[in-house]
Amino acid sequence: MAQSKSIAQGIDITERKLAEKALLREKHFFNTVMNSSPGLLFVFDDKGNTIQWNRNVEKVTGYSAKEIAKMNVLDFVAKEDQKAAAEAIQEVLIKGQSLLEINVLSKQGKKTPFYITGLRTKFEKTTCVICTGIDITERKRAEHQLRKRMKELRAFYSLAEITEREDSTLDKLYQEFANILPQSWQYPEIACARIMIGDSEFCTENFAESPWKQSAPVKVYGLVVGRIEVGYLEERPEEDEGPFLKEERLLIDTLAERLGHITERKRAEEALRESEERYRTILETMQDGYLEVDLAGNFTFVNDAESINLGYSKEELIGMNNRQYTDETTAKKLHEVFIEVYKTGEPVKVLDVKVNRKDGTKGVNEISVSLIRDSEGKPIGFRGISRDITERRQMEEALRKSEELFRSVAQTATEGIINIDSDGNVVFWNKAAEMIFGYSTDEMVGQSLALVMPERFREAHQQGMRRVASTGESRVVGTTVEVAGLAKDGHEFPAELSLATWKTVEGVFFTGIVRDITERKRAAELLQRYSAELERSNEEVKNFAYIVSHDLRVPLVNLKGYTSELRSALGVIGSNFDAALPHLNDEKRSAVAMALHEDVPEALEFITNSVSRMDSFINSILILARLGRQDLKPEPIDMNALLQTTVETMSHQLQERGIEVIVGSLPHVVADRTAMEQIMGNILSNAVKYLDSSRPGRIEVTAQANGAETTFRIGDNGRGIAAEDMGKVFAPFRRAGKQDTPGEGMGLAYVQTLLRRHGGRISCESELGKGTTFTFTISTRPEKGARDA
């Protein structure tokens, strides 16, 4: 500003010489000022043509004053800064001032950074720009250094930050570190990085093998475990190490070293964490309680199991003394143990530590106590592993009782109880077994069970034992089988054996319950024999009845035949008797007439009647025998239709006597038709026969199908049967009660026989004077070949 004033002032001077002098002085002053300026000072017009400059401009650019005078101001600007410079000039021309940093290009091609300020002004009516320039080479270097340092710092900072992250694993750390590495290099935009540790690689996304790379080894505990690589993807000017700066070498080496240390630390941390985790898991999952107490016996640490064991929460337990959860005796015992452990340094196991739980229940623990020392070996407390043995104690007691019970039961049992191990050797032998086999317990325990088996079964027994041992399967376990036993005295006997198996830690055991079934077998055999005999005799009776009824007829034929012959012979005698009369006296005549006409005919009459009755009986027995022998032909029968037919055949009799027969809805049955007709016919005619004439007869037939059986009921309102006569109802030739109608008393005997043949049964309920109900049951589906009566 001062300069432009003085220039203006100079123009108005009229006194030429004075003015020239003053101008010269002014110019000199101006030049002196310009040249004394420590930086660049130059003036150019709005076209960029240089007008005025100081000596520093010549010094810095290396051009002579003559050269400069012909040059444009942009000629001194490095190519890369020319655009910015041109813009700055325009800005100065428009706005009046501007500033920028550019590299000044010397005649020799050297670039020097300058800080340039520009100011618009008018000079001799021309718009000009006055510029000053300060060499900022030193500042630039410092800035560069600062930036470098910042990059390095950032790298270290990032590494530190990644490392400090709690959740960071080594692999994550390597990857993240590889990702940030390029930023610390001179050309981050074309830099890539890779970290190789062992067999693993951690690369930046843009990573590619490059000829322009530098690397540094990563060492862990002095061993090379991998390396860090930084590479450029494009060529860059040569620096200290290829395109890399020596600071970058230093940086990569340092980073590699740091990474090595971090790896060491992280690995150690991980190992520690794993180890802690392991111990924590053990402590938390172990069934046994874990506890730590200080030297005074106060809890300093307990695990979950111990907390559960004592029934107190962990928080409640910390600081609690053992006296608070044990009785006095136990506390005293524990105290002694602590002293002993403190003195000897050896662990001690304390049995039967009685504890009082928070809920008031009592338990028994077993504790192993050992000493805790600090890092200098000074005892600082005790640790203990405790085990709740309350249940074990209870179980031991229960087991003892159970064993006692088993022994008393086993010893008083009447059955032989034998336990054998998986080798087949006897481990238990009760008193009954002693009785049955004749061997004492002392003789048998430890012996093979084969000893009490007949020789011929021993091999099969051994095989069975081997099969159970190898497959766990047995044909006899869980069942009752019949076996042969061999007693000490050598006699063999049938026995029944029930076998069970049980497993213990010592292996598989078998319990056999043995009964001597000699008596039972004998009884069974006897029963079988009786049964066979009974069957045979039953068969004989049937055949007997049949044969007798035939053979009895033979003499009857004679009796009848010769009685008849006798009678006709008597007729012959009688008709000729009169001729002989004159030869007899009256008395003799009368006696002969008596014999001839009365005694003999009367005797013959008795014989004839008796024979007739005998014949009738025989016929009845014959029928009964035949009913028991005849073949049945089961067929489906509509019982309604059958009953209707039966009632129709009796209709005359029913109408005459005003008897009502009510037939309910009857089911179909499968039976022999003739037999069913006989059964129904006999029962109905019986009911009709024994009705009470004092009231109208009423007979009711109903039936009920009940699964495999059908039950028929035929009830009447007849005379009924006296209780003492009930036994005779189904017996042959027996007729119960007052008889006013002819009959042999065979009807119900036939019915019973026929029903039995059908696998059915009949019963009778009756009340004298009220009526009788016959109830019979036949199977709906008779078994094949119905049973013989």
Binding site: I547, H550, R553, V554, V557, N558, K560, E565, R626
Partner: protein, 149 residues
């Protein structure tokens, strides 16, 4: 063709009373044929095959057998069976005359090859009537040529 009069009737019956009654009634029915008697099955077979006690016999050329079933030694079934199996005797007419009237026995006898089955009624009048009718039947029956045994 033999004359009916020439036929010998062999009555096989273990009960002598029955034998007499049958004989009497056959005679009353006007049967005049020669009667031979056997009291059990074995005797009957001996007679038929001229064996045992009849070894020296030369029996009649034409025979008709009245056979009871229930007999000692050999029963009627066995006799019938042997007769029907043997070429020499299988054409001889056999009338079963027995007290049994069991339908199964009747069937069995016909299966074994008997020609007529007659039950002996216990009632004597019926018995007489049965034998009389048998006699009438025999009078009109035709019998195959005997082969002389």
């Amino acid at each position: 063709m033999p004359d009916i009069q020439d036929i010998t009737i062999l009555l096989v019956e273990d009960d002598p009373g029955h034998t007499r009654l049958i004989e009497k009634n056959l005679r009353r029915a006007n049967i005049k044929n020669e009667l031979a008697f056997a009291t059990n099955g074995q005797e009957a077979l001996d007679y038929l095959f001229c064996e045992g006690g009849y070894a020296k016999n030369k029996h009649a050329s034409h025979l008709l057998v009245l056979l009871d079933l229930n007999m000692p030694v050999l029963d009627g079934y066995q006799v019938l069976e042997r007769m029907k199996k043997d070429e020499r005797t299988k054409r001889i007419p056999v009338v079963i005359l027995t007290t049994t009237d069991d339908p199964r026995e009747v069937r069995r006898c016909y299966e074994l090859g008997c020609n007529v089955y007659i039950s002996k009624p216990v009632d004597y009048e019926q018995f007489c009537e049965a034998i009389r009718r048998l006699g009438l039947f025999l009078l009109v029956a035709t019998i195959p040529d005997g082969d002389g045994g």
